[in-house]
């Protein structure tokens, strides 16, 4: 535990500037993919998560640009807005299940994205929003923190994300989380036990969306410019890939997928100069992993852990949700 903490603190110092930037994105993406997993706990797979993240980004950016909100406050407002939008969407969407929910979430997300594109006022149209304020600098006596520095922003994002991960972890391990699982595996039986299935689906969706919105706000105030294409289906595909390559039956699965694929993608492929080949290799990884490792990287970890403990192998983990 302490080892990990030290590693997280020391990490940015051995890296180049561009690698530090990637590190910031990585931390933000981890929050995104873990919040996505919370959504999948109740068994529904959404294709709108990235647009919901965009709702947080747009809200927070607009609040600071137009109304002069203090950035951390606007970030929280962005998260709340994303949750609220999800709450509204839950009314039409949770009349659907499985494949229909997947398509419905995609359609409603695409509508939101097209609205950003269509309305120059206030969303900036296809060009989006530019020059979004960063976190204000901190100047207290000798301490001077400039959040344009990736390292500084990394620490800030890291703290925020760790707190969020802790919250998500607590929720999953609580009786609420147990109920999410119950809704997933046997919604009939859960309902017969008095669980309002629809309410719990909505709860998971709203919570996940709130954290996605926060990750969007974190991103917006770092890169400083967002547009409708920053949140299109392609980005959603990345999130989906992280979750599937990592596996979604454990808390750490999606994190693992996100880290491994980001390192592979950004460091290996970009440094080796395969710029154009990246989508190709990403696509191949998706296919190969779904064909030969349907339970994700986490299944490898589980097996390794089991061998390390030299205990009998853990009970077979269930296969993941199929919409």
């Amino acid at each position: 535990m302490i080892l990990i903490a030290v590693a997280l603190v020391v990490l940015p110092h051995g890296l180049s500037f561009s690698q530090q930037e990637i590190l910031v994105y990585l931390v933000i993406n981890i929050l995104l993919v873990v919040s996505y997993r919370l959504m999948t706990l109740t068994g529904e797979w959404s294709l709108g998560h990235v647009v919901i993240m965009g709702v947080g980004a747009y809200t927070s950016a607009l609040l600071t640009k137009r109304l002069g909100f203090y950035v951390p406050v606007s970030m929280i407002m962005g998260a709340l807005m994303a949750a609220f939008v999800a709450f509204l969407l839950s009314f039409p969407l949770f009349r659907m299940k499985g494949f229909y929910f997947l398509i419905g979430s995609f359609a409603s997300a695409e509508i939101i994205r097209l609205l950003w594109k269509r309305f120059r006022e206030p969303f900036g149209g296809p060009k989006g929003l530019k020059r979004i304020d960063g976190l204000p600098n901190i100047d207290i006596g000798p301490i001077h923190i400039d959040f344009f520095e990736p390292t500084a922003y990394y620490y800030f994002a890291l703290i925020v994300v760790l707190v969020c991960l802790w919250v998500l972890w607590r929720i999953e391990k609580s009786l609420v989380g147990l109920t999410f699982h119950a809704v997933h595996w046997q919604d009939k039986l859960a309902q017969a036990s008095g669980v309002d299935v629809r309410r719990y689906r909505t709860l998971a969706f709203v919570l996940a969306s709130g954290f996605a919105g926060l990750s969007g706000a974190l991103l917006a105030h770092y890169i400083g410019t967002i547009n409708p294409n920053s949140f299109d289906v392609e980005v959603m595909v990345f999130v989906l890939t992280w979750a599937i390559v990592g596996g979604t039956s454990t808390f750490y699965g999606p994190i693992l997928g996100c880290i491994v694929l980001t390192i592979l993608n950004e460091i290996v492929l970009r440094e080796l100069g395969f710029e154009q080949m990246r989508p190709l290799i990403y696509g191949a990884i998706m296919i190969v992993s779904i064909l030969f490792m349907p339970d994700g990287l986490e299944s490898l970890v589980k097996r390794a852990l089991a061998r390390w403990k030299s205990a009998p192998p853990p009970p077979n983990q269930p296969e993941e949700a199929k919409p």
Binding site: R95, I103, L115, V237, Q276, G283, A284, M286, I290, A321
Partner: protein
């Protein structure tokens, strides 16, 4: 006003033609294999690039190019079936994810081979049918409409009049019962995948001289096809055709009188509405998802 209306109707007929070719293939694949093929728009894109590769660069006759495109994209469909969908038969989500992976590969291959910029396709014909000086139908658009009618009729005959077609429809309705009847699932999956992909490819070949050919052109087509499939009813071929026509008219009219983005939003809202009110689609009875 009448001119504008008449012209818009012609434009709508043209979009209905290629959208229905793509959508019918999508429905066929979903019906027989239960897989949502997200890469279907990219098969359309590959069809268009076959034209770029053969017709723009070499002087091969257009009809021959169309035939090559049809077979080539159909074979890509067979490749997908063999390498991804057959091993993932019991895992619909897996099939979907794999098709997304395949989509990315096709896009990347197209941009590596041909560049990300719009590719140039010389017009096949410059002729235009002029009804009045304001109502005009370029001959190439007429080709698309005629070809779509032709191919869909051929598909209809194949499905209703031949033994293979009968087997295909049987396994689309009830795969288990069909298997019990001795219909090979692998065989029908292969046929469905070939036909479905070939139709998308042919749509790409036909429209290539008319639209901007680029590696990301599949995106808007697949969204249109999804809307059509949902509105028409998942698993209903007739529904897909009718919905294609309806969608093309709505989309073309809204584009003409408002703008393209509003038209896209209208289409998506339409689909959401159908999903909310009658998720099985206006013509659908199958509930296999």
């Amino acid at each position: 006003m009448f001119d504008l209306l008449a012209q818009t109707v012609l434009n709508a007929c043209y979009s209905a033609s290629y959208i229905s070719l793509v959508a019918v293939g999508l429905v066929l694949i979903f019906g027989v294999m239960g897989i949502v093929n997200f890469a279907h728009g990219e098969l359309f894109m590959v069809g268009a690039y076959v034209v770029v590769a053969l017709y723009s660069n070499y002087d091969i006759p257009y009809v021959l190019v169309a035939a090559i495109g049809l077979v080539f994209v159909g074979c890509i469909g067979l490749l997908m079936e063999r390498t991804m969908f057959r091993p993932l038969r019991d895992n619909p989500l897996g099939g979907l994810v794999a098709s997304i992976g395949f989509l990315m590969i096709l896009q990347a291959l197209a941009s590596i081979t041909f560049g990300v910029r719009m590719a140039f396709v010389p017009p096949v014909t410059q002729d235009v049918i002029e009804f009045t000086d304001k109502i005009r139908l370029p001959l190439q658009r007429l080709y698309v409409i005629l070809a779509a009618v032709g191919f869909l009729t051929a598909l209809w005959l194949f499905l209703t009049r031949t033994r293979f077609g009968w087997a295909l429809r049987a396994s689309a309705q009830d795969p288990e019962a069909a298997a019990l009847q001795g219909i090979s699932i692998t065989q029908t999956a292969k046929i469905a995948m070939f036909i479905g992909a070939a139709l998308a490819g042919v749509a790409g070949v036909l429209t290539a001289p008319l639209i901007s050919v680029n590696p990301h052109m599949g995106h808007s087509v697949i969204i249109a096809a999804f809307i059509v499939v949902i509105v028409g009813g998942v698993g209903s071929l007739e529904g897909a055709v009718v919905a294609s026509i309806a969608y093309a008219f709505v989309h073309t009219f809204v584009t003409t009188f408002f703008d393209g983005v509003i038209a896209d939003i209208t289409g998506l809202l339409l689909m959401l509405l159908v999903l909310i009110v009658k998720p099985t689609g206006l013509f659908g009875t199958a509930d296999r998802a």
